[in-house]
C-alpha cells in the first residue's frame, strides 16, 4: 500500500511499511526524534516525535503511515512539550555540553538547539552515575545516557550480539552490559560494531576519536538537525524541493499550520538573553 498523508499542510507520499516519521523524512519534513534511527526497529520511548494524527496523540516513529492521515507536528503546543521533554532528558542525566567530546556531533544537543532550548527549566537530579572506561577502545559515560535503546538494538539486530540491555524501573533505569563483570572490557563488543557508534549522545564513545573533527567542523555546527536528518533521505528519494500542499478541505477545522520551519515556535518563545549586555 502506498499513498499520501498530510503533515502540517504538506502532502507527503509514503510507501508500504513506512512509519510517519520515515515518510516525513523522505519528503524533507523533519519531525524531531532521539530514540529512532532510520533502518532500526521502531521503539517509541523518547516521545519527542509525538504528533497528532487525526486528532489523536501518537508517536510518529511507531505509527504506520496510512492514506488520509492528517498529522500535526509543528503546532505551538507540541513544540512546547517537545522542548520540555528535551529539558527533562537534560536534567535527568548530567550533560555538560561545553566540555563534552560529542559537542557538535550530538543529536541531543542538536535537538535542544532545534527546540530553541535556552535553559534546563527543571531542577537537576544530579544523578550519581559511573563511568566505564575499562574497554581499550570504547568508553561508556553513563551520565549522558538517555535510554534510547539504540545501542541495545544495534548490538542485537545489526551486530548479532547482545552486548547491551536496559535494567531498573522508573527513574532508576540504567544501561547494563552483558558480561560476567558487568564491565565493557569483558563483553564481546568490538570497536567495529555498530553499537559502538550508534549513540545519539556522548554516552558511548570510541576512544581516541573525540577530536578528529575539530569543534567548528562538526555535523551540526553549520547545519541544524532538521536539515541533516532529512538531507540523505531527500537525496535518496529525489524529492522535489517545493512541497505540494494538502487539499485545503482536509485542513479545514485544524489548528493553524505553518510552513515547517522553526519560525512559528520561535515567535512564541521569549527572546534569548543578551549575554554581552546582561547583568
Amino acid at each position: 500500500m502506498s499513498g499520501t498523508l498530510c503533515i502540517d499542510g504538506i502532502a507527503v507520499p509514503f510507501s508500504d511499511g513506512q512509519t510517519i516519521i520515515e515518510a516525513a523524512r523522505s519528503a524533507g519534513v523533519y519531525i524531531p526524534y532521539l530514540c529512532h534511527r532510520p533502518g532500526y526497529a521502531p521503539y517509541g520511548s523518547c516521545k519527542l516525535c509525538t504528533v497528532k494524527v487525526n486528532g489523536r496523540t501518537n508517536t510518529a516513529c511507531t505509527l504506520p503511515a496510512a492514506d488520509g492521515q492528517t498529522v500535526i507536528s509543528n503546532s505551538p503546543d507540541l513544540q512546547h512539550d517537545r522542548q520540555r521533554i528535551t529539558q527533562m532528558l537534560f536534567v535527568e542525566g548530567n550533560h555538560f555540553c561545553p566540555s563534552c567530546e560529542k559537542s557538535g556531533n550530538c543529536q541531543l544537543q542538536a535537538v535542544a538547539y532545534h527546540q530553541n532550548m535556552l535553559d534546563n527549566h527543571y531542577p537537576h537530579f544530579y544523578a550519581q552515575r559511573e563511568l566505564d572506561a575499562s574497554h581499550p577502545d570504547i568508553l561508556i559515560d553513563h551520565d549522558r545516557c538517555i535510554f534510547c535503546n539504540l545501542c541495545v538494538r544495534a548490538s542485537k539486530e545489526k551486530d548479532g550480539k547482545e552486548v547491551f540491555g536496559i535494567a531498573g524501573r522508573g527513574i532508576h533505569k540504567r544501561l547494563i552490559v552483558n558480561s560476567p563483570s558487568g564491565k565493557l572490557k569483558d563483553s564481546d563488543i568490538s570497536v567495529d560494531d555498530e553499537a559502538a557508534h550508534v549513540c545519539p549522545t556522548g554516552a558511548i564513545l570510541v576512544k581516541r576519536s573525540a577530536y578528529l573533527a575539530p569543534i567548528g567542523e562538526r555535523i551540526y555546527d553549520h547545519h541544524p538537525i532538521s536539515e541533516v536528518a532529512c538531507e540523505k533521505a531527500v537525496l535518496d528519494t529525489q524529492a522535489a524541493k517545493g512541497h505540494a500542499s494538502c487539499d485545503q478541505a482536509q485542513l479545514a477545522g485544524q489548528v493553524p499550520q505553518n510552513s515547517g520551519s522553526d519560525s512559528h515556535y520561535a515567535a512564541s518563545m521569549p527572546p534569548a538573553p543578551d549575554i554581552k549586555h546582561g547583568r
Binding site: S45, I85, M88, P123, A167, G168, I171, P180
Partner: protein, 572 residues
Amino acid sequence: MLRAVQAQYLHIPQAAIEQLAAALHIPRTQIIAVAEFYSFLHLTPQGRYDIHISDSITDRMLGKEKLLNYLSEKLNVKVGQVRADGLVSLNNTSCTGMCDQGPAGLVNGYALTHLDYARIDVIAKLIEQQAPLTDWPAEFFAVDEPIRKPGLLLNQPFNNGAAIAATFARGLAETLAEVDCSNLRGRGGAGFKTALKWRTCSVQAATPHYVICNADEGEPGTFKDRMLLDLYADQVFEGMTLCAAIIGSDQGLLYLRAEYLFLYEQLQRVLQRRRDSGLLGRNIHGRPGFDFDIEIRMGAGAYICGEASAQIESLEGKPGIPRVKPPNSVICGYQRKPTVVDNVETFFAATHIAIQGGQWFAEVGTAQSTGSKLLSISGDCARPGIYEYPFGTPIEDILRDCGADDVMGVQVGGPSGTFISNRELQRRVAFEDLSTAGSFMVFNSSRNIFDIVQNFTDFFAHESCGFCTPCRVGTTLLKNQLRKIVEGNGAAVDLEELSELCLIVKNNSHCGLGDSAANPILSTLASHPELYLNQLKQSSFTPGFDLDATLAVARRMAERDDDAAHLSQVEN
C-alpha cells in the same frame, strides 16, 4: 523461574544469572533487567523473614507509619535494609489489596492483616525464635471477605458448569450476541466493550488464541478481585472457559498479583477440581474437541503489569513495559498471538450473562454503563468492605450505606481516578461520570488532602516503568515539585509550573500510567485550589518606606491622580 530462585536463595545470585543465561540461551542483561524491574525480586540477599508493609494511604490513615517505626525498632532493622545477621529485612511496598483490613503487610510473600502493636510484639518474638511461618498464629494471615452489600451478581445462585452448559445449549455465536446485547464493558477500568474484544479475537486467522484473566489488582484501594478469587473462583474460571469456547482458545492464563500468594494453593485446588469434573481439560462438558486449561502465573510486584500489554510482556518473562500500539493485544498479544485480556470481574459477569442472557444484565445500570459494579470501600467509614451497586448509583447513597459521615472527599477509582470533594457527592459511579475499577476511598474532615495527593504521586513515581521520558522523568519531577509546594517553599510560579508539568506528563506519556499519574494533583487543584494557594510562600520583605505615599508630592505637582501615577511595591 526467578521467583523460585529468589525463594530458595533470598535473592537472584550472580551464579544463578550465569546458569540461567546459559541454559535458556538469553543474555544475562535480560535476567538482570527482570530482577531489577519487579519489587519482589532482588539482586542482593534479603532477610530470611522478608517483611513488606503496605504504604497505601488507607494503611497510613490506620497508623501504619508509627507501626512501621515500632516494628523497625523492635526488630532492630532500618526500613529498606537487611539486618546484619541476615535474619530479617523490612521494606515499604505499594498497596497490598487489604485496605479493608489494614494496616497490612507481607511476610515472605504471605499477607498479614490487622497489624497492631500487640501483633507486632508477637511477630518480632516469632522472628527472633526463627519460628517457621506455619507455626505462626493462623489469625495473623486470616483474610476476611466482608461482603456488605451483594447485588445483581453476588446474589445470583450458581451451579458449576451452568454457564458452559448454557453457552453450548444456546450456541457460541448466540452467546456472544448475548454478551453484546448485555453491553458489558471491561471492569478493569478502561471500559472497553467485551463483546467487541471477543469477536475481534475470534475472527483472527493466526492461532492459537489465548485467554488471560488479569488478576493484577494493583490500583491502591482495590480488593474486589481478591474477594472474587477467594469466594467465587469457579464463576471466574467459568467465564474464562466460555470465552475460550467463543474465541477458539485452548490455553488460559491467570495473572495473579504477587500480593495474593495466599490464594495460590486454593486456586490450584479449584482448577484441579474443575479438571476432575470435566469443566477443564479435554472435551469439556462432554463436547468433543473443546479443550481448554488454565495455568496460574504469579506477578512479582509491579503495578504497571495491570496494563494488558505490560502483563503480556511479564507473562513472556520480560519486564512489564507496555507495548507500542497498534497493534492491540487482541490481534497481537501473548506470544504475538491473538489474546483476550479481561479483568476478573468481567469474566465473573460474563458467566452470569451466559446463564441469564444479555437483556437481564442490560436492564440494570445506565444506558452507557450496564449492569452492576463491585466496589472496594475503605478509609473513613464504619463498614469497609465489598459493595455491589447498579451503575449510576450516586456517591452519597454509597457513603450512607458504608457508614461514612463527616466526609471531606472521596477518591473514586484509586489514584488514577478522580478525587471528588463533599460538594460533588451527587455524582454517580458510571463510565460516563466517575469511572472506577473498584477502588473507593473515603476521607473525613480530619484528613490532610496533601497527605493523600503526595502518597498517590509518590506511588506513580515509584511504579513508573521508566520506558518513556515524560513519565520516567516527569513523575519524579511531579513528586518533587509537589513536595516543594506542600513544604511551603513554592512561589506562585511553582504552582503554574506544577499545572504545566501535569499536562506534559498526561499528554505525552506512553500508556495509561503516565496518562493518569497527574490526576491526583489535577483533580485536587480543580476541587481545592485555595489549599494550594495557601501553601505558597508569601512575599517575605516588608517595605522600608511607602513608595506610593512618597509620590504624593509629584502627583500633586503634576495634577495627576490616574492609575499610572500610582506605584505599588508588592504585587497584589
